[in-house]
Subunit: 337 residues, 2 copies
C-alpha cells in the first residue's frame, strides 16, 4: 500500500554537486527552480521562504553544509561558518538545529574524507525523513475510521518534507487507504501556505479539498461535521508543548470547544529534548510587509504597527495525541501505542 | 466632549439629487467616488462591496429608494420595484430590511408629495444613525477603565455607519476621552476590512493601532493583555444570538477561553424582532474568487472547492453585553443598565 502513495512533488533535488530548490513562493502559479551552489544561497532560500516547512528546512540546511564542504575542500572553518550561517536563518523549527548539530558532531569526529561523509549524511537525513513520513502515515491511519473529514493547516505535505509529508502525509495515506473522505485546508495567513501549497498538493493527488479562510474555522467546526484536526509542528518540548505555524493555538482551542480530536504529526527530529516546556520557545517575528504588501496603499510606519509572529505555542493539554515516526504518543511521552 | 469626536471620513454624500458613494474597495490606496443616480446603481454598489457595513447599507438603500422616487415621480410601481431590488442585494444585515420596511410603509400611507416624504425619511435614517453612534459611544465609555487595550474586528467605524461608527465609534470616543490606550485590528479575510479600513480610520484619528492576521488572535489574547473585545453586528435575534462578519464566532470563543469581555456594539435597527434565535439567520455565501483572487495561479474549479460564508452566528451565551443606542443590554434584553 505504501507504494501507492506517490510523491506528488519534490521541494529539493540534490544532483551531487548542487542543490535545486523549488521556489514555493511562486506556487501554484509558476514552477521555478533556484540553483544553490553555496551555503549562503541555501540560507537565503530558507530566510526568504523559497523553501519552508520544518523538516525540509533541516534537509536543505544539511545540503547547504554539504555545498560548503564541496566548495572549500571541507576546511573546518568553512564548515563551522556554514553551520553558523544556516543556524541564523529561522529560529523556531527544531529540525534545522537537529540536522546542524548532527553535522557539527560528524565534522568534528570524522577522519578521512570529511566532504564525502557530510554529503552522505545530508542524503541520509533526506532519506530518513522520507521514511519517517511513511511511518507517521501508517501510525496515523490506525487512528482513523472510514469517512474522515479532516481539517488541516499550513502546508505539511511533500513540499514541507523529504517524503509525503507529516500531517498532510497522514491525510494523503488515509485517503489512499479509503479512510479520508475529504480535507479542509485553512488559507494560513499571511503567506498562504494552505491556499497556495496544500490545495495544490491535494488537487494533484486527487484528494477532495475545500479551501477556507483562517477566520472561518469556528463556523466550519460548528456546522460541517469535521472528524479530526491534524497539523504539523516546528518544535516540540519535552512536556509536549508545540510550536507550529501561527494560528495553531486557536485551532486547538476551537477544536477543544467543539470536542474534536486535535493531533500533531511530526517526526522525532522535531522534538527538542532541551526544552522542558513551551515557555522558552523562540518565536520568529516576520516583517510587516508580509501582511501589508497584500493591500494597495497599506504600509506600516508612523501611523500604525503590525504584529507578525510566524509561530505560536500550543500547550500539550490541548493536544489529543502526537502522530510520530515511532507511533502515536501521548504526553508526557512515556508510553506509545 | 461629543463634538471633539470628529468624523474622519464619510462613506456617503447625498446632494439632494444624487448619491455619492465612496468606493471602499479602493481604500486605502485610492479615494474614488461612485455617482449613483438610480436604485439599480445603488444596489450594485452594495452587492459589490463598494459600500459595506450593516448600518450604512441601510442608509444607502434608503437613498436608493429616494433616487427611484425622484427619477420616476414616485409611482407605486417604481418604488416597489426599487425596494424589492435593494432587498435582494445582501441577505444578512438587518438594517437594510429595517430601512426598506419603513419606506414601504411610508410609501403606502403617504398622501401628497410622496417623493419629498421618501427623501426626508432617507435623510432622517442617515441622521438618526449618526445620533445612534454617539449614544453607543457614550454607553460604551461607561464600561471602560483607563488604559483599555481593545481588540476589534472588520470595520465598524465611520465608513460603516452614518456617524462615528458602532464598535469603532465606541473605541474612538473611548480614545478621545482618555480611556482607550491602544487598538488591535484583525485583518478580516478575505476582503480585509480591518487591514484596509479600520487601520486607515485609526491612523487618521491618531489612535494607536496594531494590525494582525485573523489567525493571530489566540496568540494575541494569551500574550498581550487585551482588556476587551468589541465588534459590530449585522443582525441580532430576540435572544441575543448575533450574526456578524465571518470570524466573530471564533473571536467570541477565544475571548471566553481567555476570560476577556466580549461586546457587541449595534444600534436598535440591527435587532430583528421576528427571529427567536440565530438558527434561522440567513448567511450570505460569497464567490470563491474573493479568496482565490489573492493568489497567482489559484482558481477554484474541478480540482478543489472554496467555502466562503460572509457571516457567522455567535450565540448570546458568549456575549458579555450589547452596547446599543439605548444603553448597555444583557440578554434576554429585559433590563438595561
Amino acid at each position: 500500500v505504501f507504494d501507492s502513495v506517490k510523491r506528488v512533488v519534490t521541494p529539493l533535488r540534490w544532483d551531487g554537486r548542487e542543490l535545486w530548490i523549488l521556489d514555493q513562493r511562486k506556487l501554484p502559479g509558476r514552477i521555478v527552480w533556484i540553483r544553490a551552489r553555496t551555503a549562503e544561497q541555501t540560507a537565503r532560500a530558507i530566510e526568504s521562504l523559497a523553501v519552508r516547512g520544518a523538516p525540509v528546512i533541516g534537509i536543505a540546511a544539511a545540503y547547504g553544509v554539504a555545498l560548503a564542504a564541496l566548495r572549500s575542500g571541507a576546511t573546518a572553518q568553512s564548515i563551522t561558518h556554514a553551520i553558523e550561517r544556516l543556524a541564523r536563518t529561522r529560529p523556531t523549527g527544531y529540525n534545522l538545529f537537529h540536522a546542524l548539530n548532527g553535522l557539527r558532531l560528524l565534522a568534528a569526529r570524522s577522519r578521512g574524507n570529511i566532504t564525502a561523509a557530510i554529503v552522505r549524511r545530508a542524503v541520509k537525513i533526506h532519506r530518513d525523513d522520507a521514511r519517517s513520513c511513511l511511518q507517521m502515515a501508517k501510525a496515523g491511519a490506525a487512528l482513523m475510521r472510514k469517512g474522515e473529514r479532516i481539517l488541516t493547516y499550513c502546508n505539511t505535505g511533500a513540499l514541507a518534507t523529504g517524503g509525503i509529508g507529516t500531517a498532510l502525509g497522514v491525510i494523503h495515506f488515509g485517503y489512499q487507504t479509503g479512510k479520508v473522505a475529504e480535507v479542509f485546508a485553512c488559507e494560513t495567513r499571511p503567506v498562504g501556505q494552505g491556499a497556495r501549497l496544500t490545495v495544490w498538493e491535494c488537487a494533484q493527488a486527487g484528494i477532495p479539498c475545500t479551501l477556507l479562510c483562517d477566520n472561518m474555522v469556528a463556523s466550519l467546526l460548528s456546522t460541517k461535521k469535521i472528524s479530526r484536526v491534524i497539523v504539523g509542528a516546528d518544535r516540540i518540548a519535552r512536556n509536549g508543548d508545540t510550536s507550529n505555524k501561527i494560528g495553531t493555538l486557536q485551532l486547538a482551542l476551537l477544536a477543544r470547544a467543539y470536542r474534536i480530536p486535535f493531533h500533531i504529526a511530526a517526526p522525532f527530529s522535531t522534538f527538542d529534548g532541551s526544552l522542558r516546556s513551551g515557555k522558552a520557545m523562540p518565536i520568529e517575528q516576520r516583517p510587516p510587509a508580509e501582511i501589508t504588501g497584500w493591500y494597495d496603499g497599506l504600509s506600516a510606519g508612523k501611523n500604525f504597527e503590525v504584529w507578525n509572529p510566524a509561530f505560536d505555542v500550543t500547550p500539550a493539554k490541548l493536544i489529543t495525541s502526537y502522530i510520530t515516526d515511532r507511533g502515536i504518543l501521548h504526553p508526557p511521552f512515556d508510553r506509545a501505542d
